[in-house]
């Protein structure tokens, strides 16, 4: 049984104009999986996450948490879910760090006294010890966000939903928080759905991603597979001297995605190959025409480029 099942989820907002925020989305998440939810602004990520957390009631479709319908059994669903939602407003600004943690534990039905050790552990883990007694409003933005994440962990649920947890944080804090989330989620075997615009973060944490655009799923797969399917390999060759036009034409006919750039001394050939194996054909042709090869360089696109490509095509 999958821990989260989203089936044909559709949400239409009837504001001043009708918005189909989520359009028939389905996916499943395995227990212990860390999955990324990606998509451009307005794609429907937050809406999807809030539906899973039963904060938004969809127009149609269902969500099952551990096999039970979340909208029919919200309290069962919420026993298993905690979330950090978009923005910096997940914690009580006028409660101290410790009081926030205690409050959210209690809200989940956990006795704060009994889990004192866990609370202390989280305070240390998220480097909040020196601000333990300070009201949350006096913390830096980064610390507030760490506290919000800690408050989600203290609820001790199997499922954790994080909606853009690093938005607005500097590079350093983003990196720190990423490592903290990754390690703890793995350690505790959490099922984690994470939405982010930070592809580095997603690539680093998530095993699988769901890419949505305009409310529809455009890809669900592991990052490795997506790279393989959508990735291409760019090869650069540096050749001494110039190349005859007819040979150039021959290259273009054979490999299609070829670009030439030349100056007096060298010619650069850039070839986009579907698979690395085609490199043999390229080399063969070069040998046949007695090219003087000076340098070869392989350039694989990073996940961000692949993501952009998928979103554009989807």
């Amino acid at each position: 049984m999958k821990i989260i099942e989203v089936k044909n989820l559709t949400k239409i907002y009837n504001g001043k104009k009708k918005t189909i925020a989520v359009n028939n989305i389905s996916f499943e998440v395995e227990k212990g999986e860390i999955i990324g939810l990606l998509g451009p602004n307005g794609a429907g990520k937050t809406t999807t996450i809030k539906c899973i957390a039963t904060l938004i009631i969809p127009d149609s479709g269902d969500i099952f948490i551990k096999g039970k319908n979340a909208f029919k059994h919200p309290s069962f669903a919420l026993k298993n879910i905690s979330a950090v939602l978009e923005g910096n407003r997940n914690i009580y600004w006028r409660l101290s760090v410790r009081n926030n943690l205690e409050f959210f534990a209690g809200l989940q039905g956990l006795n704060p006294k009994k889990i004192k050790n866990k609370i202390d552990e989280l305070i240390d883990y998220f480097n909040l010890r020196e601000k333990e007694k300070a009201q949350a409003r006096f913390l830096s933005r980064g610390m507030q966000q760490k506290l919000a994440v800690a408050c989600a962990f203290v609820r001790d649920t199997e499922i954790l939903l994080l909606d853009e947890p690093t938005l607005g944080l500097d590079v350093e804090t983003t990196h720190e928080l990423k490592e903290l989330i990754k390690k703890k989620a793995k350690e505790e075997g959490k099922t984690l759905i994470l939405s982010s615009h930070n592809m580095k973060l997603v690539e680093d944490i998530c095993e699988r991603v769901i890419i949505i655009n305009k409310g529809k799923v455009v890809a669900i797969d592991s990052i490795r597979n997506l790279k393989e399917f959508f990735g291409y390999k760019d090869f650069y060759f540096e050749i001494e001297g110039k190349i005859k036009e007819e040979i150039k034409r021959e290259f273009i006919e054979k490999f299609e995605l070829v670009k030439f750039k030349e100056d007096e001394y060298v010619t650069e050939i850039e070839i986009e190959l579907k698979s690395a194996e085609y490199i043999y054909d390229v080399i063969d042709m070069m040998r046949k025409n007695s090219f003087k090869l000076k340098r070869i360089e392989e350039r694989t696109p990073d996940f961000e480029e692949i993501y952009l490509k998928i979103v554009k095509n989807g």
Binding site: I56, F76, N88, L107, C151
Partner: protein, 258 residues
């Protein structure tokens, strides 16, 4: 078991918040006391007879006392939800497996208990100022206060619920507190139908005890029955309306908006 933890958790937060806003609360208590003093001397000036012979001042004290109770609970409900929506914690609060309504009920009980910390000293202050010392019989007066105040929580639920959907209702919340005074003053002893208004009958019964020393089991059974039924009606109607509003807010996706 879980409920006890939830209650303690909510109580602790209310208590911390009360401490945080201690200064504000003290300030409003002082203003409320000043208004009382003005009214007292006003009455004394206009009709000295009333002060000497009638029960006007006693009535004023009791009415004031109950009004304080009602607005504490009510404003915590209606204003509190708005505050959570504004602060952005409302969605987190809604994610408790116990349900938002249960959090609110524990909050009501917490405020009800904490309100004693303000209203009781105020009661004594008013008695000292006026020199009119009321009879205090906890066994009679506590249950009466509870059932008199219960409708204010029902109304609080309604306003919280409406506040979830229409986020900018807050101004009208304040006005309602003054409409409470109208309810309090409604002569339910003369017009039977007024017994079905919030507060009105309860205040009269409390006065019977605090002024005329009538014990709860000596009171009119029908009146007591009406008091309890009316209280429960307002409370549960409010609760039900809140649940409907919560559902609408979740459908519109505006629970976390402000």
């Amino acid at each position: 078991m879980g409920d006890l933890i939830l209650f303690k958790t909510v109580f602790k937060k209310e208590f911390i918040e009360m401490k945080n806003y201690l200064f504000n609360t003290l300030f409003s208590m002082i203003s409320i006391y000043m208004i009382f003093v003005f009214m007292f001397f006003g009455i004394k000036f206009i009709s000295p007879q009333a002060v000497k012979f009638g029960n006007t001042i006693e009535g004023l004290i009791i009415g004031y006392f109950i009004w304080l109770f009602s607005i504490f609970g009510y404003s915590d409900m209606s204003w509190g939800i708005m505050e959570e929506a504004r602060a952005g914690t409302l969605e987190q609060l809604s994610m408790t497996p116990f349900g938002l309504h249960r959090v609110l009920i524990y909050r009501i009980i917490s405020t009800f208990l904490l309100t004693f910390l303000y209203t009781v000293p105020m009661l004594f202050l008013m008695m000292i100022t006026t020199g009119k010392f009321l009879h205090i019989d906890l066994l009679t007066v506590l249950p009466l206060i509870l059932f008199t105040i219960l409708p204010s929580f029902g109304l609080g639920f309604i306003m919280s619920g409406l506040g979830l959907i229409f986020k900018r209702l807050q101004a009208s919340f304040q006005i309602l507190q003054f409409i409470f005074i109208v309810f309090l003053l409604a002569p339910s002893d003369k017009i039977f139908a007024f017994k079905f208004l919030p507060f009105s009958l309860g205040v009269r019964l409390i006065s019977q005890n605090m002024i005329h020393k009538i014990k709860i089991f000596e009171m009119n059974r029908l009146d007591l029955l009406i008091l309890v039924i009316v209280a429960l009606f307002y409370f549960f109607a409010g609760f039900y309306i809140f649940k409907i509003c919560e559902r609408i807010a979740k459908k519109k996706g505006v629970l976390g908006h402000y």
